[in-house]
Amino acid sequence: MDWSWVATYWPDFISGIWITIQLMVLSLIMGMTLAVPIGLVQVTGPRVLSWLALGFCTVIRGTPLLIQLWLIYYGLGSLFPYMEGIRSSFLWPILREAFPYAIFAFTLSVAGYAGEVMRAGFAGVPRGELEAARAMGMRPFTVLRRIWLPRAVQNVLPTLANECVFTLKSTPLAATITVFDVFGVSTMVRQETYKIYEPLLFVAGIYILMTGVIVLIFRWIESRVPRPTMGGA
């Protein structure tokens, strides 16, 4: 085993880690935001929206993320150049990059998986609490903002850490569409140094560390959030 290349390539790994964090955090934030309405309409209806949301979750969860990513990057990406005027528009510099496609694909994926989780979270809030809120004269949106959403989030909090680790572990797929995340950097190092194992082991270690940090952060958050028990908080 020869690790001398680390001295040359560590700045690339730092920037790769930064890209990986961006991929993970951005798609988690946007995906979770989408997951709230996707989960909610499956509990409240209207029927049409609920079917649409269920269909979306089924398709996202039933197909490999790699295929979704390639469908979006190569499929959608191959349509844009033919659209009138898009090359001269302000959007073109964004649509030319691979990074936004990766964010878009990962966001949809998070929304699909977390939408299912949020559905269970919304459904798990006791009816009595919602009825009490309505009896107090709250309008539907106020009920959602003050009672339903916070209680649903509290219900699903333990699964959120898993969701984050799951998203972190899907980010290296972005390297297959030329995004230089930390896995992409390790691939580059392997090609330039002709080493097979060391860069792979190195990047595996980085992922283990990042997973550990996520687990620790969530343990800290969970210790600070009041548990949904009688009499507590």
């Binding site: 490999p64 390639w70 190569y74 959608l76 033919y82 297959t176 896995f183 194992y197």
Partner: protein, 247 residues
């Protein structure tokens, strides 16, 4: 736009690309789906076996075996599948060939099917270990004590009590793992195994009909998932017969 239209007229368009006879790629895609299913079935069998042994090792093994299994399940679950597949693929074939060389045999050209099954199965084994350990741990202790009281040996208890009592508890988790395994096979395209994702990549790259082929591949994977869902629902109903309904 005009040039694009002219180009499209000369070539098959849209669904014609998916026809079963050339220039359609339909047949290649179905063959790809078949090898995806083969790899997934093999990997699932291997993963379940590893999982069963791993679960027993974690519950009954000595401190060293338990430590090794703990490292195995923790690392596999913390590292992205893509990285693991590359690592196990290169390290596995390299290790095998070096061992063969040491014993004076020529290096072996490992078939894509066997390597794919081994790689995915080894990864799935870690998840299956946790699922099955949880299922075995939640068998009511009285059932096992009763079997001991009857004088059954460990292998008898395992065959007659633990396995049948565990299956309904493990089924939801194991069904989930099957879906994960079928989707993970797509990652094998990164090391160039011929399965559905690789064929799709080739078809889309050759014809430049990216949207058509990726949507077709996604539909095939989705169909596989939906069929599996029906099967597992039937299996779960079958194994839950005679059990109290969850409240």
């Amino acid at each position: 736009m005009l040039t694009v239209d002219l180009l499209l007229q000369a070539k098959p368009s849209g669904l014609e690309w998916l026809s079963l006879s050339p220039p359609g790629w339909g047949k290649n895609m179905l063959v790809g789906l078949l090898s995806t299913v083969q790899i997934a079935l093999g990997a699932y069998a291997l993963g379940t076996t590893i999982g069963l042994l791993g679960a027993l090792g974690k519950m009954h093994g000595g401190p060293i075996l338990r430590g090794i299994l703990e490292v195995y399940t923790t690392i596999i679950r913390a590292v992205p599948e893509l990285v693991l597949i590359l690592l196990i693929y290169y390290a596995g074939t390299d290790f095998l060939n070096r061992t063969l060389e040491a014993f004076g045999y020529p290096p072996l050209d490992i078939s894509g099917l066997a390597a794919g099954i081994f790689v995915i199965g080894f990864v799935m084994g870690a998840y299956a270990t946790e699922v099955l350990r949880g299922a075995i741990a939640s068998i009511p202790i009285g059932q096992i004590e009763a079997a001991k009281a009857y004088g059954m040996t460990f292998s008898q208890r395992f065959r007659r009590i633990i396995i049948p009592a565990m299956i309904p508890l493990a089924l939801p988790g194991m069904a989930n793992l099957w879906l994960i395994v079928t989707k993970d096979t797509a990652l094998l395209s990164v090391v160039g195994f011929t399965e559905l994702a690789t064929v799709t990549k080739q078809a889309a790259g050759t014809t430049r009909e990216y949207l058509t082929f990726y949507i077709a591949a996604a539909s095939l994977y989705l169909a596989l998932t939906l069929v599996s869902n029906v099967f597992f629902r039937w299996l779960e109903r079958r194994y839950r017969r005679g059990q109290a309904k969850p409240v």
